[in-house]
């Protein structure tokens, strides 16, 4: 009941007109960047960090929470309405909505995605409100050894499981850990990897690296293989009030709920974040469908939109559980949120609910509010998002470059930082080109210093004996769970590959039909 009272208090903060405005601004920006290809919520949070210093912590956190949830909504609009032949086939879950839109059912796809996201987001936020305090209570009792174990789980799942190539993911992680080492060692005040350069002695700012990798790296990479010509958006017909037919509601509500209850737990354990959740939901909807509906999968089945979209949003809420209670981010966006907290001297972790209770509950309350805003904004305003989606790409990526340069310059107000932005941006370009995922590097960069600190503490307690790292019962359990997660995810990856080729085999038939009806 205590938590419930705290949540109500959180609402009383989040409902203040000023904070409502910040939340509205956050979800608007979040949806816009979610809609735009090439920009994600992680990059937006990174970009906005240096230029939101003048806000008070609560306002800033509410803005970032809005961006976080808004980005999830916006992404579905893009995958449903953007007509990029050949490409989206690699992401099975984006396929159904796109196919529905091509068959003239885009409105229903958008509606089921938005309503599903709202339901999943709300239910998952309720779960977050009640699960997180208990996890925090448990987390208070664990020591540095267990922390080391938890962070190793986060490193390995983010590094090895997220991308297509295990080695490339781990290489990206190691690069992040390495860049984090540059500067002065916090414990002994010795300079490391600074090569006598006073600029490097301050360390390389996390925000700088993140903006460089996400914004400049992406802009350079897209520029190298830009799809020229006008942006083809599939038109949406009709008034938004009758987008969903009775039949659509009937077919959607179960996938919404299933997606929610698949997404939330998958989000909370560091097992690859939203991608795994959406795939699991898609696979189960496909399995559960019968007869005619099963045949629709791969050609635009509404269940294949409703389920994964809900799972995606529920996972986003789930990711906040380890972030808030343990201080462990499991996605790039969560990692940037962690940095945002740190900028305001707020340390997410077991003590967060005690020390910064008012702020955390205001954050959680603003998630409820933001979700409602997103539902209201997304359905009637889809026309605006379509307009944003159609921004000519040369202007879009030039704008991204300018914003990145501004964010980099605002870190310390020196052009040297913009130069670092350029160098790391070029690194990000080559990483994308050669198939190295970006997220592990950002997570390594942010968790690296915390990990080293905990590792040295636990080794100091055991007087240098490394076996102590695995010998406490909780730590041993965590490593055992890690092995299970790995076994499961390799099995999942195999299934996903099999299903992708299966669905891809079925699609040509569907595209032929569409060419007549689509235009």
């Amino acid at each position: 009941m205590d938590n419930f009272m705290a949540l109500l208090e959180g609402f009383s903060v989040a409902m203040q007109p000023m904070y409502l405005l910040y939340a509205l601004g956050g979800v608007l920006v979040g949806t816009a960047v979610g809609v735009l290809p090439g920009i994600g919520p992680a990059m937006t949070v990174a970009l906005l960090m240096p230029i939101t210093y003048s806000l008070d912590p609560t306002a800033a956190i509410i803005v970032f929470a809005g961006i976080y949830y808004g980005g999830m909504y916006g992404g579905s609009t893009t995958s449903i309405l953007l007509n990029t032949p050949g490409e989206s086939a690699s992401i099975v879950t984006a396929l159904e909505g796109n196919k529905m839109a091509k068959a003239g059912r885009g409105a229903a796809a958008l509606a089921t995605a938005a309503i599903g996201s709202f339901i999943a987001g709300t239910v998952a936020t309720v779960l977050l409100s009640f699960v997180a305090p208990y996890v925090a209570e448990f987390a208070v009792q664990i020591g540095p050894t267990e922390y080391v174990a938890l962070m190793i789980v986060a490193f390995l799942t983010v590094g090895a499981l997220l991308g297509a190539s295990v080695l490339r993911g781990l290489a990206s992680l190691a690069l992040g850990l390495f860049i984090a080492l540059i500067g002065v060692d916090a414990l002994t005040a010795q300079q490391r990897y600074t090569f006598g350069n006073p600029f490097l002695a301050d360390g390389i700012d996390v925000v700088l690296v993140a903006v460089a990798l996400f914004a400049v790296g992406e802009a350079l990479y897209v520029a190298s293989r830009l799809r020229h010509g006008p942006v083809k958006v599939i038109p949406v017909a009709g008034r938004w009030t009758n987008w969903m037919r009775k039949e659509d509601w009937k077919r959607s509500w179960k996938p919404w709920l299933r997606g929610t209850f698949i997404g939330f737990p998958v989000g909370t354990i560091p097992a690859g974040g939203a991608d795994v959740a959406t795939f699991l939901s898609y696979a189960s909807e496909r399995k559960l469908a019968k007869g005619e509906r099963k045949k629709q999968f791969g050609k635009g089945a509404i269940e294949g939109v409703a389920g994964p979209e809900s799972a995606n949003n529920a996972a986003a809420a789930g990711v906040l559980v380890p972030l808030l209670t343990l201080g462990i981010p499991t996605t790039a966006t969560a990692a940037m949120m962690l940095v945002a907290f740190q900028r305001y001297n707020i340390q997410p972790g077991p003590l967060l609910f005690e020390v910064e209770g008012a702020l955390v509950w205001a954050l959680i309350a603003s998630l409820y509010v933001g979700n409602l805003m997103l539902l209201v904004l997304n359905l009637p305003l889809v026309g605006i998002w379509v307009k944003i989606l159609q921004i000519p790409r040369p202007y879009l990526y030039s704008g991204i470059m300018v914003f990145a340069a501004m964010g980099a310059f605002s870190v310390n107000f020196t052009p040297v930082d913009v130069f670092v932005l350029l160098v790391i941006g070029v690194l990000g370009f080559f990483m994308r080109r050669y198939g190295y995922p970006i997220a592990p590097m950002v997570v390594g960069l942010i968790l690296g210093p915390i990990f080293e600190d905990q590792l040295r503490r636990s080794l100091a307690i055991s007087q240098g004996d490394p076996t102590a790292l695995v010998s406490t019962p909780i730590a041993a359990t965590i490593y055992a769970v890690l092995i299970v997660i790995f076994a499961l995810s390799f099995w999942l990856k195999k299934r996903q590959k099999a299903m992708e080729s299966e669905v891809a085999d079925e699609t040509p038939v569907a595209t032929v039909e569409l060419k007549e009806g689509g235009k």
């Binding site: 290809p37 090439g38 230029i51 003048s54 893009t78 990029t84 032949p85 050949g86 490409e87 086939a89 297509a164 080695l167 781990l170 290489a171 190691a174 690069l175 060692d185 414990l187 002994t188 010795q190 490391r192 990897y193 090569f195 350079l220 990479y221 520029a223 190298s224 293989r225 830009l226 799809r227 020229h228 083809k232 790409r393 040369p394 202007y395 030039s398 704008g399 300018v402 340069a405 501004m406 310059f409 605002s410 107000f413 052009p415 913009v418 130069f419 932005l421 350029l422 370009f429 080559f430 994308r432 080109r433 050669y434 198939g435 190295y436 590792l455 040295r456 240098g464 891809a504 595209t511």
Partner: protein, 182 residues
């Protein structure tokens, strides 16, 4: 409008991938190199007497070791012909060759931007960056690019320096204009 719609959707990025192994090898080699440098420079980190059992060198050595091991693993993978899958995206055309010229132009304009911030002020540097990037990416006509560049730079300067108090230098052209200075 019509030609690209009729493309076979099955065509993936494999065509471009065959031309890449050399660059990939260099990149993987660089990871090994960073690891080696990490070891050499790591051995020079002074260990103060106050340091406990685990000094400031241990974690750098662990990370360097991981980099060398993974880098070698990647080189072996590449030599066996397992190349990486280049990232996909909505704006990426999987069927075109790498346009190095455009990438070079973007890098060049960002470098010019860096050089201009202090002498001419942020708005001028930003306008040059936008104009140059838009031109490099193929936006036409040039005068529209220029108008958008100037307007965007002024809006950003006004909102972030004027309203939010971010200390972007306005430069000598706008120094006297109050709304562009925080």
């Amino acid at each position: 409008m019509s030609s690209s719609i009729n493309e076979a959707p099955g065509g993936s990025g494999t065509k471009a991938a065959t031309a890449r192994p050399l660059g990939e090898l260099v990149f993987a080699g660089m990871i090994v190199g960073v690891g080696v440098v990490g070891f050499i420079a790591g051995a020079q980190i002074p260990i103060p007497p106050s340091a406990g059992v685990v000094g400031p060198r241990v974690f750098p050595f662990i990370v360097s070791g991981i980099m060398v091991a993974i880098g070698i693993g990647l080189v072996i993978q590449l030599l066996r012909g397992h190349t990486g899958a280049a990232e996909e995206g909505e704006d990426i055309d999987p069927n075109v060759k790498t346009d190095w010229l455009t990438v070079g132009k973007l890098v060049g304009f960002l470098a010019i931007h860096i050089a201009l911030i202090v002498p001419l002020g942020w708005p001028v540097a930003a306008a040059v960056l936008f104009f140059g990037a838009a031109w490099s990416l193929g936006a036409k006509p040039w005068w529209r690019n220029a108008i958008i560049a100037v307007v965007l730079a002024l809006i950003l300067q006004f909102v972030f320096a004027g309203l939010l108090g971010v200390s972007l230098p306005a430069g000598f052209l706008l120094e006297g204009v109050e709304i562009f200075n925080g």
